[in-house]
């Protein structure tokens, strides 16, 4: 068990990554509007396979970013990954975008993964080492800031969008100087690798099919429920 193909399309970027024994071999990445991932994802995978002279049969495990993030983006990645895994009879592991963000700077703790959900809503989780001290949730940015401990590194497009507010209410919060508004497939793959190591085997870590990560209802659905 050594070769993982990881896919991430939940954010503004589409990326894939080939991970061998916990090391990143390649990570093609395209930045664009998330409504176009359908056109770029399969050609990207095709090209990666060609350049390494491999096929799905050489992949030991697939890993995919299950969101939260763009509704359509998540489903494009998850459907593609499930299809490839099922078609080639290989296992698949789902990693949330919040956990993948955390892997951006694994050596730092605590880390708050914050993904923008519009109208001052965010998807968020807070990690200390690899454990979540705040489990993935959908909340308002104000409610989240109250839960951010001192000296937390804030990552994600939600952290970027609310940079000023976070700095004002939690002055010790830190931000990455590198662009962290996107989710990287290499982080998804490395998180999957760690899960395999922690579970002891790829069979224990994976499932036959992966579903998108649902965190509470969207604003409109919540409003609809309120009026019912």
């Amino acid at each position: 068990m050594s070769l993982i193909l990881a896919i991430s399309t939940s954010s503004q970027s589409a990326s894939i990554s080939l991970i061998k024994s916990g090391s990143v071999l390649a990570e093609p990445l395209v930045m664009h509007n998330n409504l176009s991932h359908t056109k770029t994802l399969m050609p990207m995978i095709d090209e990666l396979f060609s350049s390494f002279a491999i096929s799905c049969n050489d992949i030991d495990c697939f890993a995919v970013d299950t969101g939260p993030g763009s509704f359509t983006g998540v489903r494009i990645g998850v459907a593609t990954a499930n299809g490839l895994a099922m078609g080639s009879g290989k296992p698949i592991i789902g990693i949330s975008s919040l956990l993948a963000l955390r892997y951006y700077q694994l050596e730092i703790s605590p880390v708050a993964s914050i993904i923008d959900a519009h109208n001052d809503n965010v998807y968020a989780a807070i990690y200390f080492n690899k454990s979540a001290t705040l489990a993935p949730c959908a909340t308002t940015i104000h409610d989240l800031i109250e839960k951010i401990p001192a000296n937390t590194l804030c990552l994600g497009d939600g952290a970027n969008a609310h940079h000023a507010l976070i700095s004002e209410l939690q002055p010790t919060a830190k931000f990455s100087s590198e662009e962290s508004g996107i989710i990287k497939a290499s982080c998804v793959g490395l998180a999957a690798w760690d899960r395999i190591e922690d579970c002891g085997s790829v069979e224990a870590a994976s499932s036959g099919i992966v579903l998108p990560t649902y965190l509470k209802l969207s604003q409109a659905e919540r409003n609809a429920k309120k009026e019912e």
Partner: protein, 160 residues
């Protein structure tokens, strides 16, 4: 308050098709990224004709048809992307969510939705409601209800 006009709705009666098309083009030319137009009116009232005019205002020459079966059609060659929705066949807000409605609203383009009354709970707070009253060869009355100052501004430059 002296000198301050608060526009809650604006009614334009006795419109011929050429008038509604002209209005559509003018409004289309002023739409901005994230704009949302909700269209209301019976079958044959001219919602799609009006959408075609909005599209022309955005520089889209494509033939616009009502996407009753696909729910949404995308037009990318204009000044801004146009996402044309037809909610006629939707029974539930969740059906709208399932096709990534939120992504379209934040896709940096313009959303125009026919039969918006079918999914009124899902409509964004800021939007322009346009009701088209009349059908067949009758004159049309158009009722504009802006929700948000951006839309009031557009109406001030086009309709008023």
């Amino acid at each position: 308050m002296k000198g301050v006009t608060v526009l809650s709705e604006y009614r334009l009666p006795y419109l011929q098709e050429s008038d509604t098309i002209s209005l559509g083009r003018k409004i289309g030319a002023l739409l901005f990224p994230g704009a949302f137009i909700a269209l209301y009116g019976d079958l044959g009232s001219g919602k799609t004709t009006f959408t075609r005019a909005l599209a022309a205002g955005l520089g889209i020459q494509d033939n616009i048809c009502s996407p009753s079966y696909n729910i949404v059609a995308e037009y990318g060659e204009g000044r801004l992307p146009l996402y044309h929705f037809d909610a006629y066949r939707l029974e539930d807000v969740s059906e709208l969510m399932e096709i990534g409605f939120v992504d379209y609203c934040y896709g940096g383009g313009v959303v125009v939705m026919e039969w918006a009354n079918k999914v009124s709970k899902a409509l964004p707070r800021d939007r322009l409601d346009i009701h088209i009253i009349g059908s067949g060869t009758q004159f049309r009355t158009m009722l504009f209800v802006p929700h948000g100052s951006s839309y009031t501004d557009i109406l001030k430059e086009t309709v008023i």
